[in-house]
Structures are given as C-alpha cells and as structure tokens.
Symmetry: C2
Subunit: 143 residues, 2 copies
DNA sequence: CATAAAAAGGATAAAAATATCTTTTAATCT
DNA sequence: AGATTAAAAGATATTTTTATCCTTTTTATG
C-alpha cells in the first residue's frame, strides 16, 4: 500500500515539521541519524519532495531542508503521490483493471472499503494535523 | 499491503473455489487463461499453497488443483500468510520496529486502525464466505 | 574572490519481487 | 510394464525497488 520510500519520506517530513522552519534549516545528516533511513537515499527522497514543492530547501552553507508555513498544510497524500505516484496508490486492491471506486469488484467491497478509508486519511491529514499532537509523538519518535 | 503475489494467489483460489472440487480438478493452464496471471508464476504460487495445505493438488493425468471441503474453510489470511509471510502483513504501517498493535505509534492511530480492520477482514473471510455471494462474483469475474 | 557547505543530479550497485524455463516425480491409461 | 500426462521442484532470468557513490551546482561567509 505504502512503499518503504513513502514511509521514509513521511518520517523525514515529520522530522522537519518538528525541528525546522524558515530560519532553522536542517541537513540530511541530522535527520537520518534520528529516523534511521540511509543518508543518501533520504537525500534523494527529500530532493524529490523539494522539487515538487512539498517541502523547501536551500543550498549552500546554512542551507538545508525545512517546512514553510505553506508546506505544513500539505497532506500525507501529497508526499505519497510524489514518491509512489498516484496510480499506484489508487489502483484496485486486487489489481483488477476494470475496477475502480465507482465500479468496485467484489473483493473491493470486502477489502477495498478499508483502502478507501486509508486513502481518505492520507488525503485529509496534513503535516500540521500530525504535529498538533506533538506530545504523543515524542513518546514514539525513535522511529 | 498485499503483494501482487498474494493477489494472484487469491484470484487463483477463488477460481478454484468456483470451478473445482475433489472430483473435478483443474489445471494451471485453465486458470491462468481466465484470471490473467502468468502461467508459470501462478503454478509456483499454487504449489506453495498446496505444500502448506491451503489448497489441494494431485499430480499426473486427471490431476490438477482443487479445493477440498476443508480447504474452503480457509481464510484469505491463510493464503496471504503463505505467500507474503506473516511478518510482512502484520508489521507497522510505518515500519516502526518497536511498534505493534499493543503499542501503536501515532501514525498507527491514524492509518493503522484501517490496517487493523483490513487484517481483520482477511482473518475472518473464508473462501466459502466469498463464493456464497457467487452471483455478484460472476459480474466481476474477468479479473 | 576564494572557500567551504549543502543540495541537486547522474550513474551505478544491490536486493527483493516477479517471472520463466527445465528437470524430476507421480499418477493414470493403455 | 511402458507411454503419457500433469504437477512439483529447482535453476535461472528479468524487472522493480531500494540504496550508494561521485560529481556538479548553488550560495553564504570570511
């Protein structure tokens, strides 16, 4: 459902949400040490998100990645779309080509309603939503 | 969430449920033509299921794969466990190692409740359950 | 302006998932 | 028994995903 890459990306963005802003940018090196995602790979993922304006970045000394106010309004789905691509996320649970949300197959009914809910969560949860329950997060942060 | 392999396997088993029994075994060749899964690959998956006694098979002429009465009582999860392995299905949506159903991480709360439901469906839906709504199925069969 | 810091980009490598091919084994039917 | 059929098993190939490495570009600062 979610690729590892997407999970990594989400972890990274959460880290940024909790630890960065326009005036305090963060290097990949700092992030990967905390969230345990391979440095170079995380860099690639964050670059990709930055290219698609899901997060922000600045090169050079004192540069790094960060979330702008606007970035915080992005949803989890925005991240997943960039990393996994839209098709993959929305495709039928059973890989039935002729089957989609409007014309669901039988397993869709069984299993797909959960997927629909899952997707709905991704679409409606913003980064801001996530960090609002920051306290709870801390307990869990050693990802 | 579900690998392609698991999906293929489920499709195959559903085909068997609808078209086979102890006295009428079915060859891979017949199945793959209907459900559009690569023949040799489907064979591998069915062999694996057979080895784990999720489905039944007999070699030689008049042989093939089929579901016994007992086999029909298997759940979707039985299939998925054989093909994907248990760990993979039950692991945290976010790949958080220290996180499981009893000690959920924050994203677990958001996203994982759906996953829990999804798993519950897999665990509680038997092949028999599926084919009881056979009529609906037929509309959808060109997988 | 030189230098160093940091992301961006390109190319490559490793691992996992998916798929195919070949050989072996077992059952059935002359 | 021998021939044939079909699955089981094993070996190999391809593709996709994940991961690393190395070079280039950008930018802040001394």
């Amino acid at each position: 459902m979610l690729s590892n890459s997407s999970k990594y990306a989400i972890k990274g963005v959460i880290y940024l949400a909790l630890n960065s802003n326009e005036d305090h940018k963060v290097m990949v090196r700092e992030i990967y040490e905390v969230i345990h995602v391979p440095e170079a790979y995380l860099a690639k993922l964050l670059q990709e998100l930055s290219r698609h304006h899901v997060i922000s970045s600045v090169r050079g000394p004192k540069g790094g990645f960060y979330l702008s106010q606007e970035d915080q309004k992005r949803t989890l789905m925005d991240i997943v779309k960039v990393i996994d691509g839209e098709k993959k996320v929305n495709s039928c649970v059973m890989g039935v080509n002729t089957c989609d949300r409007s014309n669901p197959c039988v397993l869709h009914k069984l299993v797909g309603s959960n997927k629909a809910r899952f997707i709905s969560v991704l679409e409606h949860t913003t980064i801001l939503d996530l960090i609002e329950s920051k306290q709870e997060f801390e307990a869990f942060f050693p990802f």
